[in-house]
Symmetry: C2
Subunit: 354 residues, 2 copies
């Protein structure tokens, strides 16, 4: 590419070199239909472009956005990037933003409303063109404020009624798991439901419960345990489920792979062999699921695409379009952790049906 640091050569330099006015150069290099029209003679335009390429001219985005009031910057706020799910979504964002010539800031809020606010202010003070919010809380009061302040934004990962969002169809995902576990003969199930303020966990749980009940099953409130989304959260939740004396479920649905992995750990320490004594199904089908010593059944959510769609939606908003929320379809991946026909055969299934 260039052998010099960008910024060393300006529009003015180019103009001087060619004996043109900076504005002419600007129109040639950055104009649209302008160029074809009255901007410059084709031969001049050629000269300009050649020189620009030769000296490695790249426009100063600071100067440009000072003038245009557009930074071509998007802000992304996630609970934590060390959550693989959000990291993958961000990869999708990174890609799509890049394709559209935008750059992104991403910051962690740790799901703390104070930090959320602070990071948002930082992004706005950086003059981002819009925000992608991946850590929306169901009470969502910040969002109203953003709307009032006319900040363009969309939600990702978690959804909230009334705002545009890019998510997985979590309700459907939950339903798929319910159907699967029911088909496998499970009648007594528990749910590790995630944080109550996150639509992901809430919707997955709701989808599961609705379908399970529609099939004729029962799920008492006590079978739903709220938890953090990480491994320790899942471990703790599963522990409390398995410790319960009056009933011990034959299957656990964790709304997140990491919680599921934690649950596997807990099952282990209770002397239960996952996939034989206890079925566990996770959500998101992260790259780990299939590789675990006992492969984890999981609902594959198109995380990467969710990130891409979020960018598309936001660009739509910036463009003044009326955008609609997008719910991408999940797919259930059944593996050893919940496939009772796998080695135990039919007897296990019937045994479980009691």
């Amino acid at each position: 590419m260039t052998d010099i640091r960008p910024g060393s050569v300006t529009l003015k330099d180019l103009a001087a070199e060619l004996g043109l006015h900076p504005s002419t150069v600007s129109r040639i290099l950055h104009g649209k239909a302008d160029t074809a029209r009255g901007a410059a003679a084709p031969v001049t335009a050629e000269r300009v472009r050649d020189l620009a390429k030769k000296v490695g001219y790249s426009p100063d985005p600071q100067a440009t956005s000072l003038r245009t009031r557009r930074t071509h910057l998007l802000g992304v706020i996630v609970p934590r990037l060390s959550d693989l799910v959000l990291a993958v979504m961000y990869e999708g964002i990174d890609e799509a933003a890049d394709d559209a010539n935008y750059s992104t800031f991403v910051m962690n809020s740790r799901d703390d409303t104070l930090i959320q606010r602070r990071k948002m202010e930082i992004m706005l003070s950086r003059r981002v063109d819009g925000l992608i919010i991946g850590d929306a809380h169901l009470d969502g009061n910040i969002l109203d404020e953003l709307t009032e302040r006319k900040v363009p934004f969309v939600l990702m990962n978690r959804t909230i009624a009334g705002f545009a969002s890019a998510t997985c169809d979590d309700t459907l995902g939950g339903a798929l798991v319910a159907q699967h576990l029911w088909d496998q003969g499970h009648r007594d199930v528990s749910i590790i439901a995630g944080e109550p303020y996150a639509s992901t966990g809430v919707d997955r749980t709701h989808g599961f419960v609705s379908r399970f009940r529609a099939l004729g099953g029962t799920i008492p409130e006590s079978a739903i345990v709220w938890s953090r989304f990480d491994t320790t959260g899942g471990h703790t939740a599963a522990d409390s489920i398995l410790r319960g004396t009056h009933r011990r479920p034959s299957a656990i649905f964790a709304v997140n792979d990491f919680a599921a992995i934690g649950a596997m750990g807990a099952a282990n320490s209770h002397g239960l062999h996952v996939g034989r004594d206890l079925a566990i199904v996770g959500f998101n089908d992260t790259s780990l699921a299939a590789q675990l010593p006992i492969a984890l059944s999981s609902v594959r959510s198109p995380m990467h695409d969710i990130g891409r769609v979020a960018v598309k939606l936001l660009l739509g908003v910036l463009n003044g379009d009326a955008v609609e929320s997008v719910k991408l379809a999940p797919v259930l991946c059944v593996r050893d952790s919940s496939d009772f026909t796998w080695e135990a055969g039919q007897e296990a299934v019937t045994a479980r049906q009691r």
Copy 2:
């Protein structure tokens, strides 16, 4: 905070409102020793600051950096953010940058030299003040180019001789594992070594081999298998190791937790019980290690701190200081996957000693 979108009120507005000159306001709000000195009367300063707070003034960073030639922006390039190790390091960066009033761009290079270059150019065209490079390849020709172009940068995660870096002491980490496995009685070990262009894997492998040999052990070249850093990479590598007919090691050191998890999966499908038939040790002690059905021994590396240190180093460079590379100390965490005294008792150890 403010109830209006940042950017709506400028320095000029403040000045007009107060009957002062913009430059005076600027000096009051952003000056250092200036303020105390001849900038303005204390009472005026007070008035300015009050109004600024009241109307929610926040300086336009684009305008500022256009003038100052400093963006307070740092660029971070990592192989992939969906690698938990890099994600955690980035969290450290995010924090430390925030503390120092910097913002960061982070981009994925997928360890592809072409993308690496492209992302770098994007960051430079955004006029970042400096770069943190988390995906350096040992052949490192881009780095020389950066040096030549006088771009301030530091390395993180991976190190390369001659450049400032923030890393874990990988050589020591490898040595710790060698010592541990030796103490456990293992004499026949294999290494899943990661990508040959990454110093992390190379140094961990080298540290391991050196110590193991110093203790009197032997490690043939064939016992070292290069691989990708993810679970599938580990799976494939372990598979080829375990498939080997002439020797089957009693222990495997994977230079990365994810590779180790993949190796566990492979061991499983070879009918080996990890922790009894085969010891496996990983690296980084990611949050998963301790939660796995069979808890994974791993070398804890201070990933979060590595990110923080990287920022500190880079700020040092920006400040014109001569900075030194920092190697943070690793700690070995022994768990079930390699603790033979755990349940099998002494017999297993001696059996393995042959």
